[in-house]
């Protein structure tokens, strides 16, 4: 008997992700992978998977899934408003960051993320999804990954591995960092910007705009004045780089970023603050704080303790 979820509503941007596809950036293939690593790993931990197991990532509104097959242990991580709709019609309000059992005919209705962008859905034993070049991460723009590199679509079937093992239900105490200060290090072209713009960047507020997705986050704020050159020789890009095109409005490059780019970079978000950043919804006002490498490396040590 096949065990699967039928997609009754796909959600806005629901894709399979893991920790990323590495070693191919020189061919133009970005690592991709889950946007919020801590939430992703939590969803796997809740169902006793290895933390790198592929999970379903959703943004804002998630999917409505109908389960067919054997009982399963599942979990939703992040801050998510969802319902478990039992086969008999009973509606149970879901609790994120707690694993729960579902049975044949039950539906999971992932209504929305709460004051955040991304959430994750994991199942004990994992989804039956195909690796592409060593990863189940999906890069929709290039159609790379499981499900032919696509977002979930209506009527898709998501198969999962059946497991006879019974697991204990788990719970993780979790809340997002509500602080809107993002720590950054100086970018390679920091000196391209006028002294005033350098000061503005660290003192003025920037608004997260709606032009934000897995590739990048466009910000709106004080225009940054480039006094050297609006273009640079295209060079490799690192996740979290903040580039400033000719219009002076910064763009933070996120997990599905281009592998190479020709706009000057004023700063780079430190690894410890990346998860926090990507969960900021459009309209959120953020500020940047300059730190050095030693501070960033120490912050990372604190960050990994949360895993």
């Amino acid at each position: 008997m096949n065990n699967y979820f039928k997609v009754l509503r796909p959600g806005i941007n629901s894709t399979f992700q893991d920790l990323g596809r590495f070693g191919l950036q020189h061919l133009g293939i970005v690592a991709s992978g889950c946007m919020d690593q801590l939430s992703f790993c939590n969803s796997n931990k809740l169902v006793d998977n290895k933390i790198s197991e592929g999970a379903l990532e959703f943004a804002y509104q998630g999917p409505l899934l109908e389960m067919n097959g054997a009982n399963a242990l599942v979990a939703i991580s992040g801050k998510v408003n969802f319902n478990l709709i039992k086969k008999n019609g009973e509606i149970i309000k879901g609790k994120s960051n707690e694993s729960f059992q579902i049975s044949n005919g039950d539906k999971i209705d992932i209504l929305s993320t709460i004051n955040s962008v991304y959430g994750y859905f994991s199942i004990f034993g994992g989804f039956k999804i195909e690796e592409v070049k060593g990863s189940v991460s999906t890069l929709v723009k290039a159609k790379i990954g499981p499900n032919n590199g696509n977002k979930l679509k209506i009527d898709d079937k998501i198969f999962f591995r059946k497991s006879n093992q019974t697991n204990k239900l788990k719970k993780i105490e979790f809340d997002f960092d509500k602080d809107n200060v993002i720590r950054v290090m100086k970018g390679l072209q920091f000196h391209y910007f006028s002294k005033n713009s350098q000061d503005d960047f660290f003192s003025k507020e920037y608004k997260v705009t709606k032009l934000t997705d897995r590739m990048g986050m466009r910000l709106d704020g004080v225009k940054l004045e480039n006094t050297v050159n609006k273009n640079i020789k295209s060079e490799g890009i690192t996740k979290g780089s903040i580039q400033v095109p000719g219009d002076g409005q910064p763009i933070i490059l996120l997990s599905d970023h281009p592998t190479i780019g020709g706009y000057p970079k004023i700063a780079n978000v430190i690894s410890a603050d990346y998860d926090k950043l990507v969960q900021k919804t459009p309209g959120t006002i953020i500020k940047f704080k300059l730190v050095n490498l030693a501070v960033a490396e120490n912050a990372f040590q604190d960050y990994v303790r949360k895993f």
């Binding site: 990323g20 590495f22 070693g23 191919l24 950036q25 020189h26 061919l27 133009g28 293939i29 690592a31 592409v132 070049k133 890069l139 723009k141 290039a142 159609k143 790379i144 590199g149 950054v184 290090m185 970018g187 390679l188 032009l211 590739m215 609006k230 273009n231 020789k233 295209s234 060079e235 490799g236 890009i237 690192t238 996740k239 979290g240 780089s241 095109p245 000719g246 219009d247 281009p258 592998t259 190479i260 780019g261 020709g262 706009y263 780079n268 978000v269 430190i270 690894s271 490498l293 960033a296 490396e297 990372f300 990994v304």
Partner: protein
């Protein structure tokens, strides 16, 4: 020559080979790239996630929990990577291009800027033997050079949100082919129906750095009828 190594945030470094963009500089970059790739494969160094060569730089990204930037910088400085052999590519790839006005979005701006007419721009583009400097931006996208000086132009101030697959664009002395629909800031002069990248093939990218590219003009009808094997 490797001029400088700098940090990019806390999980990347850049190896800078100087400001000159030419084949010789690029070959130096590829040499270090080959060396790093080899060192990762033979496990001489751990924690490296990606290595991205560009015209004059190699960027290396790593897993901060595994290794720190100072360890990688030390590794590179203590290595003699110049002994790595780099066979020169002799591959020439002919790429069909249609310059129809439907595809050549920025031709008017280029005409104004370069003071050349459409025909002159096209013929200057067609007569160039392009060197493949690097692959990237999106999967399989080649960066080619060097364009005739009379066609040099800056990128757009505000990048377009969407550029169609196969679009051919120019900026300064470079030419590129968008292998996927994506955002981008290059001046678009035409479009190719030729598929340069396919993730399902063993050889996912038709072009490699060091190859040569020649463009061949095709009509809109030929564009429509073109079939990728």
């Amino acid at each position: 020559m490797l001029k400088k190594i700098s940090n990019i945030g806390d999980c990347g470094i850049t190896c800078d080979f100087g400001d000159e963009v030419n084949k010789n500089t690029n070959k130096e970059v590829i040499k270090l790239f080959n060396f790093i790739q080899e060192s990762v494969k033979s496990r001489k160094i751990k924690g490296i996630l990606n290595y991205t060569p560009s015209y004059n730089k190699l960027i290396i990204n790593f897993e901060l929990g595994q290794i720190k930037s100072k360890d990688i910088i030390e590794f590179i400085k203590s290595s003699d990577y110049s002994k790595v052999n780099l066979p020169e590519s002799t591959k020439i790839v002919e790429i069909p291009i249609c310059y129809d006005e439907e595809f050549a979005l920025d031709i008017k701006r280029l005409e104004e800027k370069t003071k050349l007419n459409f025909k002159e721009i096209v013929s200057k583009h067609l007569e160039t033997n392009f060197f493949v400097y690097m692959i990237g931006f999106v999967p399989g996208q080649p960066f080619l050079g060097d364009l005739s000086e009379s066609l040099f132009h800056d990128r757009l101030d505000t990048p377009r949100i969407r550029i169609n697959k196969g679009s051919v664009g120019i900026v300064e002395k470079f030419c590129t082919i968008y292998t996927f629909e994506s955002p981008g800031g290059w001046n678009i002069i035409g479009r190719t129906p030729f598929e340069l990248f396919n993730i399902n093939k063993t050889n996912t990218s038709i072009l490699s750095p060091g190859d040569t590219v020649k463009f061949k003009s095709i009509s809109k009808k030929e564009f429509t009828l073109f079939k990728n094997e």
